[in-house]
């Protein structure tokens, strides 16, 4: 066998060639994997946002639906109203107010939103309605934001203060409905959120979950934020009540800002999802 011939026909790669080839391969693979890694993280982030979005959407759907149906059936649907109910007994089969209030519920001396009301507030509301439309089954449906958890609970309406009834319920009557709700976050958290989401939390203030719009006696049929409503409105039964009272609420704007369970895997910044809903109460007083 001829050496020269062998080197001619079966010469291997030089070290330089191999190293160059390996280097190019490593660079291409590195770029590939870093892209893969980025998209992996992005996928993780996105799927977290999706999970939060999904939970939030379901919650918002239900709140909007409860707000839409609030006030059914109104007292004007009855020629003879059932007598007042007693504790533990079935309650009147009609609605006194689409949104129950505290203090002094049903005395028809309602509190004022943004004034004397303990509830409803921007983080706590009790809708009064018949959600199943089965005769005589009026319920109080409460949504309350405690910390970062939105709780939901429903009980049969009673002739009593709604807050007292909810407070006396066994543990478990109110259930955690949506977690990681950041509407009422601390100032430090809000500052952090605003770094990523400048348009959320206008003014750097907590964002109320519920904003109430009342019919405006000064310019009917326009509505106005309840706390800004002045004057009185007259109910169908002739009683005059302050325009800013819960019985005069027409629209409820619901804003939910939910943080994902983990920070953005890529940027380590908080991930937030904000959804808005608008509930319109159609039933008359």
């Amino acid at each position: 066998m001829n050496t020269a011939q062998k080197s001619d026909g079966h010469r291997g790669f030089t070290l330089i060639e191999v190293m160059a080839a390996v280097a190019i391969f490593v660079i291409v693979c590195g770029a590939m994997f870093s892209l893969l890694n980025t998209s992996q993280k992005r996928y993780q982030g996105e799927s977290q946002v999706l999970n939060s979005f999904q939970d939030e959407r379901l919650a918002l759907d239900q709140v909007v639906r409860d707000a839409n149906d609030a006030g059914y059936p109104p007292s004007g649907n009855f020629s003879a109203l059932p007598g007042l109910c007693v504790l533990g007994a079935p309650c009147p089969s009609y609605v006194d107010s689409p949104i129950a209030w505290n203090p002094s519920y049903t005395t028809l001396a309602p509190c004022t939103i943004g004034g004397t009301c303990v509830t409803p507030t921007g983080f706590d509301v009790i809708f009064e309605e018949n959600p199943t439309a089965v005769a005589g089954n009026i319920e109080w449906i409460r949504y309350q934001l405690v910390g970062t958890t939105l709780w939901r609970g429903s009980i049969a309406k009673q002739n009593a203060d709604p807050l007292g009834i909810f407070a006396g319920l066994p543990v478990g009557a109110m259930v955690p409905y949506l977690t990681n709700v950041m509407n009422n976050a601390s100032a430090a958290q809000i500052a952090k959120f605003q770094a990523s989401y400048p348009s959320m939390f206008p003014g750097g203030n907590p964002q109320p979950v519920f904003q109430y719009y009342c019919s405006n006696p000064a310019a009917p049929p326009a509505t106005i934020l309840c706390q800004n409503a002045v004057g009185n409105v007259t109910l169908a039964n002739g009683t005059a009540v302050p325009a800013s009272s819960p019985i005069n609420v027409v629209d409820v704007e619901i804003t939910l800002i939910v943080q994902t369970t983990q920070l953005d895997p890529q940027t380590k910044a908080p991930l937030l999802v904000e959804l808005n809903g608008f509930g319109h109460r159609v039933n008359p007083n």
């Binding site: 996928y43 996105e46 999706l50 979005f53 149906d69 109104p74 003879a80 199943t132 005769a135 002739g238």
Partner: protein, 535 residues
């Protein structure tokens, strides 16, 4: 090995580059697809949320079409499209039901809510009325929706059902009697309903023979189905609403009566019994209410003024029921005024006047840009003696410059100033005069006349009648002072008003609940309740 073999091997190795390239392409595609997947999942979730909201608003749009087209003043009023689509007698419930559907199919789609098996079949009807919608047959009439005129696709509701309502169909114990719920009596809405304590309590009623003030309540249900299958079924209960001017006396003068002088002729009568004086009939209405006193006032002292103003030889012409302020059994019938909420105080009455003015067929007001136009905004309460109008101006302001069948074709006429309807002028409907009303004994009116004015104890609203004749008023007349003289502020309670007939005064005033109702055409179908039916 020969060079030929070497050449062969080299050419076999050349395919490796292609394999590597394909592998790389695969890798890149996988990453790209995974990125695309994640963002498309997001947009499909977002569209899910949107569709549930869209379906809700689509169904609501259907409800509003149904509610709007019930109103006779709507250009798309059902009966303008199909004669007698909504019968004057209402829509009966089973066993002999009449049901109406508005259909709104997409192009090429069949929406048949009463055909079993159709994908939009009305399952809910059986839940509410106990019979399948497929058994309705000719009792169910349909009409096309007007929501996609102009070629653009309107809201995606499929059908809107309009029917009568019963306790069972709305699933409410309306009269608080023992269960089971009534499924044979149609629900009516009575704005004049009183609660057990006698206070005004407008509400639904269950009554096989409802009072003349009550109007049938309709159930309006709408089904929306989006192309992706999202469904919503919403339901209204609606009833016609009018001005609620249901007076119970031929002549009501709240506040203080400054002076009163009744007609002197033997014919001049004020009769509080419903339907007295041979009035023209209102088709389909039988005057059968309890009626009230000939003259209704707010207190005994005003009652005494009225009693003193009735000519002593004519007291028997002043008859009625509930004559609680009568001085003696031989005096005319004067009693206490029961006012509907809408007229209970000067403030409430002013609000009512605004509504009447806004919904008027003819408005004569100097504040109007076009003085003779329908529907005034922000009318004032004029002082007597201001701008004066005549009956011919009312007629002249009607479409075509005439008032066909004036005696039986009710119109809402708002006159911001004094009005003189002297002469042989028949009229019908609601007449509001914010000033003095003057007429002579040949004038007629079937319906409601409100004379509302500005004044103080020394400056009175006057209801002047000059001369005799054969004219007759059927319905109710209301005279009140609601603002201060000069500054126009609303009084806390009704001020002083006068009622003076100088001379014979024609045939007089006869209470008539049918003409009172007939004058008050619905201005809207109010929503009594709203609910969502789970699908």
């Amino acid at each position: 090995m020969n060079p030929h073999t070497h050449q062969l091997r080299k050419s076999r190795e050349a395919g490796v580059a292609l394999l590597i390239a394909i592998f790389m392409l695969l890798l890149v595609s996988a990453v790209a697809i995974s990125l695309m997947m994640s963002s498309s999942t997001e947009s499909s979730l977002a569209s899910n949320y949107r569709s549930s909201t869209s379906a809700y608003y689509a169904a609501l749009a259907g409800l509003e079409e149904g509610r709007g087209r019930l109103l006779s003043t709507n250009p798309n009023y059902f009966n303008n499209t199909v004669a007698n689509f909504i019968p004057a007698a209402g829509l009966p419930i089973p066993p002999n039901p009449q049901v109406r559907y508005i259909l709104n199919p997409l192009a090429g789609e069949v929406v048949a809510p009463t055909t079993a098996g159709n994908q939009y079949y009305d399952n809910e009807y059986a839940n509410e009325f106990g019979v399948q919608a497929s058994t309705l047959g000719a009792a169910a009439q349909t009409i096309a929706s007007v929501s996609n005129t102009g070629g653009s696709q309107g809201p995606m509701y499929k059908w809107v059902r309009i029917s009568g309502a019963s306790e069972q169909s709305v699933n409410l114990d309306v009269d608080n009697r023992a269960l089971p719920l009534d499924n044979t009596t149609s629900l009516f809405y009575d704005p004049a309903h009183l609660n057990l304590a006698g206070a005004s309590d407008p509400s639904l009623i269950v009554n096989a023979a409802p009072p003349s003030t009550a109007k049938q309540a309709y159930e309006v249900a709408a089904l929306a189905v989006l192309p992706n299958g999202t469904k919503k079924l919403l339901e209204y209960v609606v009833a016609p609403a009018s001005f609620n001017l249901n007076l119970d006396s031929p002549l009501t003068i709240p506040g203080t009566v400054g002076s009163f002088s009744g007609g002197s002729s033997a014919n001049y009568t004020i009769d509080g019994h419903d339907g007295g004086g041979n009035p023209p009939a209102v088709p389909g209405c039988n005057p059968n209410s309890q009626g009230g006193p000939a003259v209704a006032v707010s207190n005994q002292s005003s009652g005494n003024t009225v009693e003193g103003g009735i000519p002593s030889n004519r007291v028997t012409n002043y008859t009625g029921t509930n004559c609680s302020y009568d001085g003696s059994s031989t005096s005319g019938c004067v009693g206490s005024a029961t006012l509907p909420n809408s007229m209970g105080s000067p403030a409430a009455l002013q609000q009512t006047l605004q509504t009447i003015a806004a919904n008027s067929n003819v408005c004569l007001a100097s504040s109007q840009a076009n003085a003779n136009s329908a529907g005034c905004t922000n009318p004032t309460i004029s002082a007597p003696g201001g701008t004066g109008y005549s009956f011919s101006q009312i007629t002249g302001a009607m479409p075509g410059g005439s008032w066909p069948n004036a005696a039986t074709n009710p119109q809402v006429v708002y006159v911001d100033g004094d009005l003189d309807i002297s002469g042989n002028n028949p009229g019908s409907g609601i007449l509001v005069v914010t000033g003095n009303l003057t007429y002579d004994g040949n004038s007629n009116w079937n319906g409601i006349i409100l004379v509302i004015g500005e004044g103080t104890t020394t400056f009175n609203t006057n209801f002047n009648v000059n001369g005799g004749g054969n004219g007759q008023f059927n319905g109710a007349i209301f005279v009140a002072t609601i603002t201060h003289n000069g500054n126009g502020n609303i009084l806390p309670t009704f001020g002083t008003s006068d009622f003076n007939v100088n001379g014979g005064g024609g045939s007089g005033i006869f209470y008539n609940s049918c003409w009172i109702n007939n004058a008050q055409k619905p201005i809207t179908y109010q929503v009594l309740s709203f609910k969502e039916i789970s699908q």
